[in-house]
């Protein structure tokens, strides 16, 4: 238990833990924001009350996730100062500014218009409301842009150089548009969208399986499917481009992702390892299944590589990432989920074209709906895996090739960090359990299909509802939206 007295290791664990938990919530809100823009737009266009009710129902998940996202995100910002003070000082010129941009461009926008989006249905006119919904979605996605810009720069630091232990920026735009930036932003943008789509699809499928409002939820499933047809294949393509970039810019990470210990010189074919048991001590894979020549095709679409693939052994152990097995498997899990999503999307599209997704027979698509329910949590697992590959694979550097992780951490008493780490672990686990509990409560309660539609006098149910218990709303008018 040596690590318990090493404040650098503990700070790393704390950052990893808070990041792994935090990302769960914004992933959903960023993608779902776009979904809410779509359904509200459909409502304004068609005036079909179902779309309005979809907007209201799914926004309950939005607000739950947003609240926890904010609460767990604020510690992330402060940790740069508390636990990583030398890093903050060294990279403040660029990295610090970008963190400031995130707060002003993205977070404030989302926070300011969220109130109107959630509680303003009766207070502003539909156009202003729709604008608020759009601005909330834009704000959330701008967060992705800035955070991924900052993180990409940590992967491929550009636009300046280290002078006396500080990164001096010569060209801000070069730093911002660093080699990883565009693909990383897109990859994460599609990841949040895909995760949210499959969560919404999964929950909808669950209702359909339960035969609760199947007609209503067939609608959301079809919206999800229409979006997934574009997103799922694109994500695979962007993922491929990201992999190629890692090959060019971060050879140590690529070697760990593929568990390549030996180098393959240029001009030769390289095998792709499908499954393996990497052994760091022996610097080899204890067991392995490989596909001959496949790595060449994956990286360059041809059998013989034009650049060498360097193996881990080329670097001294202190210059290459550890936890090779974790990086290797996290990478494979992410890819498997990406392809599963694309497959499920294809299969469902075929059923749709065959007319099997209409209200009267969609409940008979038992296996397909079960597959959607199964897919609901997979996006999260893919996102977490991807981030593990990205950030564990960047080690031993915080700023790739420039600043080492050991030199980035504040000199803190290990007992302090251990205490805060424990507190985070306990509180975040409780938050996770509470979020699951309350999220499932929203699901069990189901949508309220009796909501009055803004701008109309109609009080009768908008769609067929299975009669439930009637609960008169005794709260003051202000509260009854």
């Amino acid at each position: 238990m040596e690590f318990l007295s090493d404040s650098v290791v503990l700070s790393r664990m704390q950052f990893a833990l808070t990041a792994i938990f935090h990302i769960l919530w914004p992933v959903l809100t960023t993608g779902m924001g776009i979904y809410l823009v779509i359904v509200e737009g459909l409502w304004l266009k068609t005036r079909n009350p179902d779309y309005y009710l979809h907007a209201r129902f799914w926004s309950k998940f939005y607000v739950l996730n947003f609240g926890i996202g904010v609460a767990t995100g604020i510690p992330m910002e402060f940790q740069f100062g508390t636990n990583w003070a030398p890093f903050s000082e060294a990279v403040g010129n660029f990295f610090g500014s970008v963190i400031g941009f995130e707060a002003s461009w993205a977070f404030m926008l989302e926070a300011a218009f969220l109130g109107i989006m959630l509680f303003g249905w009766e207070r502003v006119n539909p156009a202003v409301h729709y604008l608020s919904t759009i601005l909330v979605a834009v704000g959330a996605n701008l967060s992705t842009l800035w955070i991924l810009t900052a993180n990409s720069w940590m992967q491929t630091p550009a636009g300046g150089e280290m002078v006396n232990g500080k990164f001096v920026v010569n060209d801000y735009f070069q730093a911002m548009f660093n080699p990883f930036m565009a693909n990383s932003v897109l990859h994460m943008f599609f990841a949040t969208l895909e995760t949210s789509l499959f969560v919404i699809g999964g929950i909808s499928a669950w209702y359909i399986l339960q035969k609760r409002h199947p007609e209503f939820f067939a609608k959301s499933l079809k919206i999800v499917l229409a979006a997934a047809i574009a997103v799922a294949p694109l994500q695979i393509y962007i993922g491929h481009l990201s992999g190629e970039q890692v090959y060019h810019y971060q050879p140590t990470k690529l070697a760990a992702m593929e568990a390549q210990w030996e180098s393959t010189p240029a001009g030769q074919p390289a095998d792709w390892s499908l499954l393996a048991i990497p052994n760091e001590k022996a610097q080899k894979n204890d067991w392995e299944i490989t596909i001959p020549n496949a790595l060449g095709y994956i990286l360059e679409f041809k059998q013989n590589l034009s650049e060498p693939v360097r193996g881990l052994k080329e670097w001294k152990p202190e210059d290459r990432p550890h936890l090779v097995g974790l990086i290797y498997y996290a990478f494979r899990v992410m890819i498997a989920i990406g392809f599963f999503f694309a497959g499920l999307m294809l299969l469902t599209t075929v059923q749709w074209l065959r007319g099997k997704l209409v209200a009267k027979n969609i409940t008979q698509q038992r296996w397909l709906m079960l597959a959607w329910v199964f897919a609901a949590p997979l996006g999260y697992i893919a996102v977490e895996s991807g981030w593990i590959v990205r950030c564990v694979g960047r080690q031993p550097w915080t700023l790739y090739g420039q600043i080492r992780t050991v030199d980035s951490a504040s000199r803190l008493p290990a007992s302090n960090v251990l205490t805060s780490l424990t507190a985070f672990a306990v509180v975040y686990s409780l938050l996770f359990i509470a979020a699951m509990y309350f999220g499932s409560r929203i699901i069990r309660r189901g949508p309220n299909l009796n909501l009055p539609i803004p701008g109309t006098e109609i009080t009768k149910p908008a769609v067929d509802t299975t009669p439930g218990e009637f609960m008169p709303d005794e709260r003051p008018v202000e509260a009854q939206q």
């Binding site: 100062g81 400031g100 941009f101 109130g115 929203i442």
Partner: protein
Amino acid sequence: METLKYFLPQVWFVILALFLFLYVMLDGFDLGVGILSLTSSDEERRGILMTSLSNIWDANETWLVLMGGGLFGAFPLAYGTILNALYIPILVMVFGFIFRGVAFEFRELSRRKLFWNFAFGAGSFIAALGQGFALGAVLKGINVDETGHFIGSTWDWLSLPSVLVALTLIQGYVLIGSTYLVWKTTGELQETHYKTAKIAALTTLIGAIAITISTPIIYESARYRLFQQPLVYIFTLIPVLGVWLIWQLLQSLNRKEERAPFVWTILLFVLSFIGLGLIIFPYIIPTKITIYEASADPSSLVIMIIFIGFLIPVMLFYNLYQYIVFRGKVTGGGYEE
């Protein structure tokens, strides 16, 4: 170039002061309402208290995130050193935020609200306490080496003066929270907060007097600054104005005015803030590191002005718009359908 090196850090000092002030004012009443919810007698009242904040709490808290991000970018050395030195108060604040933030959503969905009510109130109190200790510690001075890196120990932030600052800040938050509730509520609830506002006005006054008297006695560095010409006139004027403002505040409370107490309290906050700014400037880590020593490169500061500066009026506008949309008294105890 030399002028820029003086001018730009000053601009950023002012911008960050503005962000911090907006934070202290807006999240101040927010946290104050949270602390007051611990004294609420029943569920309905707590419901109204939380409803009065439901649409604004995260926008209010964002000013702190913005201040943090700005400090990180504009004064990276100060960001690292101060946060490093204040490890415990900052984490205390952060955990306070976590509890009160999730309480908004979880309370709404929960059948047994007692725990989340408590999490909301206690979280607000803990967050305010952490901020108070942080402020107290910064004023008292952070132990740094000649390059500005923290060399003190874990518990440096805890001292008698920082306890005094923390308690006074909490009183100030309760005061602005009370006057906000006077503005936003009616009936019995409003009556209660006329009372809490009066009590808080008096306790804040006592705390402020104690701080005013003890500052030149305890802090040698501040003493020098306070009695410098011509600042000495300003520093004499501030407490006098402060007492006058509290007098006006108490009178408006006695007259049962609804909005004036909140306005007087804001003016009181403005005044304390100006005083604080004048004591600290031109330091960012008081009496050790100046804003010029801690600032990022001039080019960074320019880029940040370009990217953030023009957004400040925009952000102010849409925050204001939010308050306009949700103007009027809060009556309901729940905010979801």
